[in-house]
Amino acid sequence: MTVPTAGLGLKPQHYAEASACPAAGSTHGLWFEVHPENYMVEGGPRLRWLETIRATRPLSLHGVGLSLAGDERPDTEHLARFRSLIDRYEPFVVSEHLAWSRRGGVYHPDLLPIPRNAEMLSRVSAHIDEAQEALGRRLLIENPTAYLALADHQWDEVDFLIEIARRTGCGLLVDVNNVYVSAANMGLSAEVWIDRVPGALVGEIHLAGHRSDAALGEALLIDSHDAPVAEPVWALHRRLIDRIGPRPTLIERDGDVPGFSDLLAEQARAAAVLTDLEMAA
C-alpha cells in the first residue's frame, strides 16, 4: 500500500472522482479521511463506496462523537460500532478530539471545550484509555479550537496534550488551523505552539480554512472549514514540517465544498511541502 502523504476529507459528492483518481505525481500518496459517524449505517451505497476507495487508497477514521472530554464515560455502543468500522476498513490511523459533545442523553453536534485542570486531565486520560482498549487501536488526539477564555486553565495546551499522551500512550493530531485560530482568539503565539509540540507524538496534521466572525471581524476567528487553507496556516504547516519531518497531512473542507479538482490543487500544495523535504533529506 502507498505511503500516505497529503490527503483529502472524502465528501459523498466526490466518491466517483476519488475512486477514479490515478496514483501519480502529487496524488501518489493521496489518502482519504472520513468521520466514522457518517458510516455507522446498516448497509447501502455509502459503505460500498468506502470499500471501493479503501481498496486502492489508505483511509483514516476521524471520530467526532466519542466525547472524550465529557463528564460521562464514552458510550459503549458507539465504541462498538466504531470498532466494527475499524475492523472492516483497516484505517492506517484513528483519531478523535480533545472535546466533548454528549451528556445526559443529548448529543451536541459540536466540539465543546474544557478547562485544562487536574480533574479534567484524569478524566480525559481515563476516557482515552477506555476508548483505545475498546477500539484496539492507539488514538491520535486533535487539539481543539478556542473561542472562549476559560477561567480554570491550569495547564498550557501543549503541556496538557503531552501529559495526556504520556499517561495514555496516545499520539497527537495537530490541526494547524485550530492552532492558528485559537492563538489569534486567545492572544497567544501560534509559532510558539508549533515549535513546542514534540514531533515524536505527531501522527497526523490537519489543514483547513477559517473565517472571521460576522460581527467582531478579525477579533474572533471561526474554524469554519468553508474556505481554502489560509496563507498563515500554510506557513505554520511548512514551519512544523521543516522541524519534525513529513507527516500525513489532510485538507479538510466541510462547507461551500468546491469541485474535486480544486481540492486536489490544495492537496498537491501540501504534498509538495512534504515531498520537497523528503528530497532534501
Binding site: E37, N38, E42, G44, P45, R46, G70, D71, P109, L148
Partner: protein, 254 residues
Amino acid sequence: MSAFHTAFEAALAGDTEALLPHLVVDDRTRAAIGVYRNTGLKARIDALEASFPTVVQLVGADWFRAAALAFAQEHPGDDPVMVTYGASFPVWLATFEPAQDLPYLAPCARLDRAWTEAHVAADAAVMTPAEAGALGAALTGLSVGLHPSVRLFRFDWTVPSLWLAHRYPEAAPGPLVWEPRAEALMIHRTAGHVRARLINPAEFAFLEACQKRRPLGIAADQAARLDRTQSIPTLFASLIAADVFLTSEPEARA
C-alpha cells in the same frame, strides 16, 4: 457530574449567565458563546435540510430553516450518527402551526424520511428470476420476506404523485394534481440506488402480505381479489425485477 459541563450546557440552552463564573469575561465573550450555540443548531438544521429535500422544495429554504430551527430547539437529538437525526420531524411538522395550511407537507416529510431509511438499510441477497423459475410451483407455499429497504405507503390523497414530481421529476407520473384520490407508493433500493414508484392496489396487497410473511400463494389470492384483471405472474415478475424479495436460499442469505 462536572459543574463546568452543567454550566456550559445551560449556556448552550440560552442561560449565558450560568457560564460566566467559569470564564475570563471580555467584550467578545457573548459572541464566542454564540459561536458554540450556533454551531450545534446549524449542524442540526443542515442535517434536516439534507434529509428532507422535498419539503425544502415545497416551502423554500427560508421557511424550511425557520421550521428546522424550531424543531432543533425542541429536539436536540441523542446520536452522533446524524443520518438518524430528524426521525420524528414528519410527526412534529404535522403539529407545527405555520404548516397547518399545507396538509401535504408532513406526508411528504414521511416519504423523504423513508427515502433516507431505504438509502442506509441493510444489504441483503434478493430473489433472482432464475431462482423463482427454478422454484416453480413450490413458490406458492413459500414465505419470502421483502428487502430491508422496502417501504410501502398508502394515502387517501395524491401525496405520492406530489412527492414523486419533486423527488423524481424525470419520472413524474403526469400533470400534478392535488386531490382526494387514493394512491400507493413503494420506496426501495436496488443496485445501490433508491427508487420509488406508484404501485396499484393489487401490488400493494401482494407486497403487504409478503411483508407480513404470508406465503406467496396467499399474497397472490389477496392481490387477485382486489383486481380480477391483474395478471399475478406479471405482477410477481415485475417485482422480482425490482429486487424487492429476499432470496429463499439460506446460504445466499448468510
